[in-house]
């Protein structure tokens, strides 16, 4: 009848990758017991994950190709509820790569942990589906549902090791604090809706711009929404959940959480702050600058004393969120570009670092203590060298990709005249080098304490190879990747 009125070809084009992800996610839930009832065959479910990502990738590629020929290069679907642009495509590529790498590096870890269930792969896809809508949505309802789909999948994945006390505890803390922040965010949304009488970001932006500065209602909406979002990106003082959730979760899930969930939350943050909240930039810039410095301070100083590598990397990821927030404080095209480049390189180097920790998982050893890494150089030089590359990149040392991310953030800060912030941020790089070096020292100088060989499934080696290669390639020959980030800025 009036089919085309509610669901046009345009609408379909804007969400096709998400449809694929949801379809394959549901299919994996069913195939889990229909096709592969034997736990030993479960790793073949990976085929469906790869298939799902291929279909998603084709959809994304078509979107990208279509957008390249458009001016202005964007497409709105569902009456403006989702917006396809370079920004959304860029983020969705990050999510796709992260999900794929995490999926292939997981199965050996789960088998050793005796918790290899098919739902795991479904959850990875569902989480990615939620992220798709976080990067693409321009309506509060869509963004809210996307955020919750992602968060709920992550709650389950963090607590996936049901018999493990730490995993339970991590899931509980993540769930309670995550739901708490969702409450704040939803309250902020309700006030925004009341202000604008619409849930579209465009209308909300117009309504806010029409209000006087420091309007108490606008301030309430800004404050509650920001608290909810800062929770999600683990910025201080709302970072308390991150160390516990990162430490207790299965290592591949920690990798996914630290990379994809953070990128998706930043996509959301950028959509809001560069969109409807842009007219309030004079108000939120100083607040965000303060929060960014606080985040850098807490993340870097707390990381120094950690003996658990996952916990150390959790605090380091808190500090990375601080750097990215500085890009938002600069509030210019260079800053946004810096955040995108930072997120791209962060994806590869952080996934790589967690992949090495995943490889340390052996029968009875989680492999996330500094002790477990001792003497890795003598036993497994390949892993040790890769870890060195990832750590150098995380610290931001020049020949690696990590330098690039920090470079653009600093450039943006200098361009916008925030010299003080740039100096402080540079100083913290020195602190970061110190605690990353603790891991390096453990790997290269100390004697090995653990004789059992490290895990080395095909998927894990593949993940390590890809992340290691890209961390180096982006560092040495960055032009095509920078071009990708730049085209995604064009609105």
């Amino acid at each position: 009848m009036n089919f085309s009125q509610y669901y046009t070809a345009n609408d379909h084009f804007t969400i096709i990758p998400a449809v694929m992800l949801a379809l394959f996610g549901c299919a994996i839930l069913l195939f889990d017991f229909w096709i592969f009832p034997d736990p030993r065959q479960r790793k073949w479910l990976l085929i469906f994950v790869v298939l799902a990502e291929i279909f998603t990738g084709v959809g994304l590629y078509r979107q990208q190709a279509w957008l390249a020929g458009q001016s202005p290069s964007m497409l709105q679907g569902f009456g403006g509820a989702v917006t396809l642009d370079g920004f959304s495509v860029f983020f969705n590529w990050i999510f796709l790569v992260a999900a794929l790498i995490v999926a292939v590096m997981s199965y050996q870890y789960l088998e050793i942990s005796n918790e290899h269930h098919g739902e795991y792969y479904g959850l990875i896809l569902f989480a990615q589906c939620g992220m798709y809508f976080l990067a693409t949505g321009t309506d509060l309802v869509v963004l809210f549902i996307g955020l919750e789909l992602m968060a709920l999948s992550f709650y389950v994945m963090v607590g996936f090791l049901r018999a493990d006390k730490r995993s339970n505890e991590a899931a509980l803390k993540y769930l309670l604090l995550g739901a708490f922040s969702t409450g704040f965010l939803a309250y902020g949304f309700s006030v925004l809706y009341g202000l604008a009488g619409s849930t579209k970001l465009q209308d909300i932006g117009d309504a806010i711009a029409a209000r006087p500065a420091w309007d108490p209602v606008v301030f309430l909406a800004l404050a509650t929404t920001s608290v909810g979002l800062l929770f999600k990106i683990a910025a201080a003082p709302f970072h308390m959940w991150a160390p516990d959730a990162y430490e207790g979760a299965p290592t591949p899930v920690t990798a996914y959480l630290s990379v994809a969930s953070k990128a998706a939350s930043f996509a959301f943050l950028l959509r809001l702050f560069n969109g409807p909240l842009q007219s309030l930039s004079a108000e939120w810039e100083p607040i965000l600058a303060f929060i960014a410095i606080l985040t850098l301070t807490i993340g870097n100083l707390a990381a120094i004393n950690q003996t658990n590598i996952k916990r150390l990397l959790a605090y380091s990821s808190v500090s990375h969120a601080g750097y990215m927030l500085l890009g938002l404080v600069a509030n210019n095209a260079m800053g946004t570009n810096g955040i995108l480049v930072y997120l791209m390189v962060y994806t590869f180097m952080n996934l790589g670092a967690f992949a090495v920790i995943t490889a340390m998982r052996r029968q009875g050893i989680i492999g996330d203590e500094l002790e477990d890494m001792a003497g890795l150089m003598h036993k497994n030089p390949g892993y040790a060298m890769l870890m060195l590359v990832f750590l150098l990149s995380l610290a931001g040392i020049p020949p690696t990709a990590g330098f690039l991310g920090k470079y653009y953030i600093f450039l943006a800060l200098i361009q916008s005249g925030h010299y003080g912030l740039a100096v402080v941020a540079t100083l913290y790089v020195a602190v970061a080098i110190y605690y990353y070096f603790k891991i390096v020292r453990s790997m290269f100088i100390r004697e090995e304490t653990e004789r059992a060989p490290a895990a080395s499934s095909l998927g894990l080696r593949l993940a390590l190879g890809v992340t290691g290669l890209l961390t180096l390639v982006i560092g040495i020959y960055p032009e095509p990747f920078l071009e990708l980030a730049k085209t995604s800025l064009v609105r």
Partner: protein, 125 residues
């Protein structure tokens, strides 16, 4: 809003009558019983009534975990039906589009149901 204001006294009269009845019924019953019945209190009469059998334990004991699993499943499948209401209200206007949307929605829900069933979540072990 104005409509509601005008209707308010009339619309609420049945509720007030019902409220008065609801309060008076137990009060009248208890007072009447108190006046009529003979009074002979004893310890046995004050015990908790459990189908005439002697009370086995405190009522604040723990339930078996199965109840929680059923409760969890109930919550999710119960609340999901909320999405059927808007469709039911606009059933005619949405036409076949609405039907197909709901089919997609129910399809996803059924996948979840099959999954829960196959995982043995519905069995009372």
């Amino acid at each position: 809003m104005r409509v509601i204001v005008n209707d308010m006294p009339n619309g609420y009269i049945p509720i007030f009558i019902f409220l008065a009845l609801a309060i008076s019924f137990p009060v009248v019953a208890i007072v009447a019983a108190k006046l009529i019945r003979p009074s002979a209190p004893s310890l046995t009469k004050l015990e908790a009534y459990e189908c005439g059998i002697k009370a086995a334990s405190d009522s604040r004991g723990r339930y078996t975990v199965r109840f929680y699993i059923v409760a969890i499943l109930f919550v999710i499948f119960d609340v999901e039906t909320i999405f059927l209401f808007p469709w039911a209200v606009r059933y005619r206007a949405l036409g076949w589009f609405g039907v197909s949307e709901i089919a997609v929605f129910l399809g996803i829900l059924i996948v979840g149901y099959i999954w829960a069933y196959k995982k043995g979540a519905l069995e009372w072990v």
